[in-house]
């Protein structure tokens, strides 16, 4: 078990193993998406209150989960990079950032599309929305910093530090915005947000969440492989691989 992880941490083995893994992950992702969308869009009954438009939740909720998962995952990867100096952790983390930002953006856009017919407004300065927007800013700040630094290794360490500082901030932002707004107005989301969900809706939601998760892992492996080829283009194993 441990030797497997040790092997995985070396770029050469990672490249080989991920190459075998990607087609499988891709197939699972496609399967999950098809079944999730089928159950979500055709099988699940319309909501008694919101009609058909609640179905946007099947994209919105997984995207929001992914946006938070990826940030946390990046922080873990950078902690690993910081402690054990494993190159691969940084490659994975920096390949994740753009996807994290996209999921955050997707969650904001779908939320706003849903908000217009439901709440009658595209945007409210509510706790969840505001903390999600700040999460987007954190991702964009990281991407800007990493792309501003020429040297890849310096960029990785600087970006990692920023992500780790930012992770201290995330729970603070999340809760602070909640306390901050409850003084001004009653909670509007939390009431709508906690209907006891029926299994016929929960199943597609979980399928979609899994599909998003697999989609992320497939794509991040593809990106990490490309990144590895670029960074290690002078190393022996790549020369061996491509002649």
């Amino acid at each position: 078990m441990w030797s497997f992880f040790h092997k995985l941490a070396s770029p050469k083995h990672f490249y080989r193993i991920s190459g075998k893994l990607i087609p499988w992950l891709g197939a699972i992702t496609a399967l999950l998406f098809v079944s999730g969308l089928y159950f979500g869009l055709f099988k699940a009954p319309p909501d008694y209150q919101q009609g058909e438009s609640y179905r946007i939740m099947f994209v919105h909720v997984p995207a929001a989960w992914m946006s938070m998962f990826i940030y946390t995952f990046m922080a873990v990867l950078y902690a690993i990079h910081l402690i054990w100096n494993i190159k691969l952790a940084d490659v994975m983390a920096s390949s994740s950032a753009a996807m994290g930002a996209s999921f955050t953006f997707l969650a904001l856009v779908t939320g706003s599309l849903w908000g217009k017919p439901m709440w009658g407004t595209w945007w409210v300065w509510d706790a969840r929305l505001t903390s999600e927007l700040i999460l987007l800013f954190l991702y964009l700040g990281y991407i800007a910093l990493v792309s501003a630094i020429e040297d890849k290794r310096t960029a990785a360490r600087a970006g990692g530090l920023l992500i780790l500082v930012g992770v201290v901030n995330i729970p603070i932002i999340h809760y602070s915005v909640e306390w901050w707004n409850t003084l001004h107005q009653g909670p509007t989301v939390t009431k709508l947000d906690k209907p006891s969900i029926h299994p016929s809706m929960l199943l597609p939601l979980l399928l979609m969440a899994l599909a998003f998760q697999c989609y992320y892992f497939t794509l991040v492996l593809v990106r990490a492989r490309t990144e590895l080829l670029e960074r290690e283009r002078r190393s022996a194993w790549i020369k061996e691989l491509f002649g």
Binding site: G141, L145, A148, N169, I172, S176
Partner: protein, 225 residues
């Protein structure tokens, strides 16, 4: 320990002396602070009722921007003339030395804001209770701004055009400070208790005092490598 303390005070004294030799620059962040606040009655509305309502936010946003503006040069001079490299090489822990620099920065830019704030509270027609809360939040909050901001400055000091990037990195990290501080001031103005928000700000300050110096030192090492 003695060596550490003397290194700490040597850097503090040096930075303060440097600041007082450039007396003109010393006033710039303060003027910036004042001017930003002045823009609101001109740009939004001179209506005292409205001004009183938005005053905490206006003053605090001006304080954030002024801190950002003044922080930009925190490590720039030392980076350019090589004394930052000397600090990295010194036998004393870098994280303690940067605290001296941040403290010096706060003494010349954050502390004067405290003296200017009552005037601004007057200009924006804030009730006296809210003005007191504003003073307290600024007293706890401005060192926080210096500490958090210094992490971003340390990360961008090696880059040629770090200014806009710095804004992008630091302002999202400033948001919790902004939220708790303005909330406390608004609550005080409405006659509500503000201890909760103040304790939270103080907790943030303790957290920043313990963790930020380590992060600043690490960021400097990354930038100098």
């Amino acid at each position: 320990m003695n060596g550490l303390a003397s290194a700490f005070f040597a850097i503090l004294r040096r930075d303060l002396m440097l600041a007082f030799r450039h007396r003109g620059e010393l006033a710039n962040p303060l003027l910036f602070f004042l001017i930003i606040v002045t823009l609101y009655p001109l740009g939004v509305s001179p209506d005292p009722e409205l001004l009183r309502k938005i005053a905490p936010g206006v003053i605090w946003i001006a304080a954030l921007l002024a801190a950002l503006f003044s922080l930009e040069n925190l490590f720039r001079g030392d980076f350019d003339d090589g004394s930052l490299e000397q600090m990295l090489l010194s036998p004393q822990p870098l994280s303690v030395l940067v605290v001296a620099k941040v403290l010096a920065h706060w003494l010349v830019s954050g502390l004067p804001m405290l003296f200017l704030a009552p005037l601004l509270a007057l200009l924006l027609d804030m009730p006296s209770k809210a003005a007191w809360a504003l003073e307290t939040t600024l007293a706890i909050g401005t060192p926080l701004l210096s500490l958090i901001g210094a992490i971003g400055v340390a990360l961008t000091v090696g880059l040629k055009r770090g200014g806009i990037l710095l804004t992008l990195l630091i302002l999202p990290l400033y948001i919790p400070v902004l939220i708790f501080a303005t909330n406390a001031v608004a609550a005080a103005g409405a006659g509500m208790p503000v201890e909760g928000q103040l304790y939270f700000l103080a907790a943030l300050l303790v957290l920043a005092l313990t963790l930020a110096p380590v992060a600043i030192a690490a960021a400097l090492r990354i930038s100098m490598s």
